[in-house]
């Protein structure tokens, strides 16, 4: 299990900062940034030796693709889970390739029953090879496909019910989607199976030309922290994790963001 606490995405650029967080008990690492059989980054190994939970987070499995997931990619994720003694692994409900073309981005799925079937089939294929539970993360999308048959909550709930997968809830994604579509993000929280949450992502973003982008490279907006508090009123998630993927701010700013997440969720500070 993930320790009940606040964590941060482990990135080589800030690995010294991460290692120095006195109360840190779990991190997440991009699975594709590690080799399955070669040496792991010494700083990550050092965290494991300190008893830190490390969750491999996949970004290229393409669970939402029409094609079956590549066995080699699943094996990679499984091997990492074993090497890191991970409590679980996570991936996105999205597709990143189609017809042999790599998109280089997480792309949204049409919320149709056919898409649910495709995701469920790929998730089951993946689960069959994984030694640990899988958590699924819905993504942020700037548009909806025109032929949606289900809304976001129905779509996610059906996938989770049929696969028994856990939910990696990204509050920054929910905020971005709701803001760009003019919805209330709290409405979605009320309709999701919150008891399935394995952990929560929190990240910063920025608005450009009226569209909010979930960049992971900008400050955490107060509205996302408010969403953390709203979520915790309904169901306190086991763990929350700050995702930061670039434009890293000075250490006090990063610490303040971690403290703000802890305060909003009622967890002890880790800084």
């Amino acid at each position: 299990m993930i320790p009940y606490s606040v964590g941060i995405g482990w990135r080589p650029e800030i690995c010294g900062f991460v290692a120095a967080l006195p109360g840190l008990r779990f991190v997440e690492v991009i699975a594709e940034s590690l080799t399955a059989h070669g040496p792991l980054p010494p700083a990550l190994v050092a965290l494991r030796q300190r008893g830190m939970a490390v969750i491999p987070h996949g970004v290229q499995l393409s669970l939402g693709g029409a094609d079956p997931v590549a066995p080699s990619r699943v094996a990679h994720l499984a091997r990492l889970a074993e090497r890191l003694s991970a409590p679980l692994v996570s991936e996105h409900i999205a597709f990143v390739r189609a017809g042999g073309v790599e998109a280089g981005h997480l792309l949204p799925l049409p919320r149709t029953r056919e898409a649910v079937d495709a995701v469920v089939a790929n998730v089951r294929r993946t689960q069959a090879e994984l030694p640990v539970p899988l958590a699924l993360e819905p993504i942020a999308a700037l548009f909806d496909w025109p032929d949606d048959e289900l809304d976001e909550a129905q779509f996610l709930t059906e996938i989770l019910d049929r696969t028994e997968a856990l939910l990696l809830l990204d509050l920054a994604n929910i905020y971005a989607n709701a803001r760009n579509r003019g919805n209330d993000p709290v409405d979605l929280l009320d309709r999701l199976p919150l008891d399935r949450i394995a952990y929560v992502h929190v990240a910063g973003g920025i608005e450009h030309d009226g569209i909010y982008h979930d960049t992971h490279t900008d400050p955490l907006p107060p509205a996302v922290l408010e969403l953390v508090a709203e979520l915790c009123i309904r169901h306190r998630p086991p763990a929350l994790l700050l995702e930061r993927d670039g434009n890293y701010p000075p250490a006090p700013v990063l610490r303040a963001e971690l403290d703000a997440i802890a305060a909003a969720a009622g967890y002890p500070t880790i800084t």
């Binding site: 080589p12 650029e13 900062f17 010494p42 990063l254």
Partner: protein
């Protein structure tokens, strides 16, 4: 052993060889012991605090110390580059060293980076840095390095005696003498060439610092904005100018001078300037 009229210098070959080898071994032992003491540095724990500029100087001399200072000042926003010159872009950070002050002052006058190493303020600050490191038994002074060459020079004298004997010993078997001279020549050469610029304790200290700050390796592309100016300077000090390129590629492009401009990775100790050699052999080793 009988002395015969044919003996060169009145000594038989085996007698001379025995004496020569005994004397060589004695001088070699004395030299190794002497150099080990000179190169050891202080036995006291070396884990005392040193600045990034001091670490940089120990790692690779004046120029790297300069770059460590430039890295720290750039990360603090105190300096920048414009039209190929250094410029002061902000106030000096708190705790600025004398080298920082000298560079900032030169930048205020828009100095070209290649002129930094001959700027009087900068050279004076670097000289002071060297003296501090020598006083702390971390760097070897020129005088100490001269003394370290006494032993091998005595070996050279012995070598010359042996060569003279070799030349004088016409029509006599000289195979063992020749082998002895070859071995002595190699040992002599090693000791003459290996006179490090820093002590073994400094090398241990650098090793500890590299372990302590392993997250600053340029391979990680460290987020120096997160780590702050002090660690930006330490990154350059320990891992070379590649760290400066990670910090600010455009700044590094203008600020880097001489041979460092082509460095892609951090310098090793064996590439050190001022005659520093790798390891502490010939001086009894560093003990880890």
């Amino acid at each position: 052993m009988l002395q015969t009229a044919n003996d060169t210098w009145g000594l038989s070959g085996p007698t001379f060889l025995a004496l020569f080898l005994a004397l060589s071994a004695l001088v070699l032992l004395a030299s190794v012991t002497h150099r080990a003491r000179l190169f050891a540095g202080r036995n006291a724990p070396v884990h005392h605090r040193i600045t990034a500029q001091q670490a940089a100087h120990l790692n690779d001399g004046d120029e790297l110390a300069l770059y460590a200072a430039l890295g720290g000042l750039r990360a603090a926003g105190a300096i920048d580059v414009a039209k190929g010159a250094l410029i002061a872009s902000g106030p000096l950070p708190a705790g600025a060293t004398r080298l920082d002050q000298a560079i900032h002052e030169a930048a205020r006058l828009r100095i070209m980076s290649q002129e930094l190493l001959v700027d009087p303020g900068v050279t004076a600050a670097l000289a002071q840095l060297r003296r501090e490191l020598e006083a702390a038994d971390l760097a070897l002074s020129p005088a100490t390095r001269r003394v370290a060459r006494i032993g091998p020079l005595l070996l050279v004298v012995l070598l010359l005696v042996g060569v003279a004997r070799l030349i004088s010993s016409t029509d006599k078997p000289v195979g063992f003498l020749l082998l002895s001279l070859a071995a002595l020549f190699v040992l002599c050469l090693i000791q003459l060439m290996h006179v490090p610029s820093v002590t073994c304790s400094a090398r241990r200290l650098l090793k500890e610092l590299r372990t302590q700050h392993s997250h600053l390796t340029p391979r990680n592309r460290p987020a120096y904005r997160t780590y702050g100016a002090d660690l930006a300077a330490m990154g350059v000090a320990l891992f070379g100018v590649a760290a400066l390129r990670v910090l600010d590629p455009a700044f590094a492009q203008t600020a880097l001078i001489t041979q460092y401009a082509s460095y892609s990775t951090y310098p090793t100790q064996s590439s050190g300037t001022a005659g520093s050699g790798g390891g502490c052999s010939g001086g009894g080793g560093c003990g880890g």
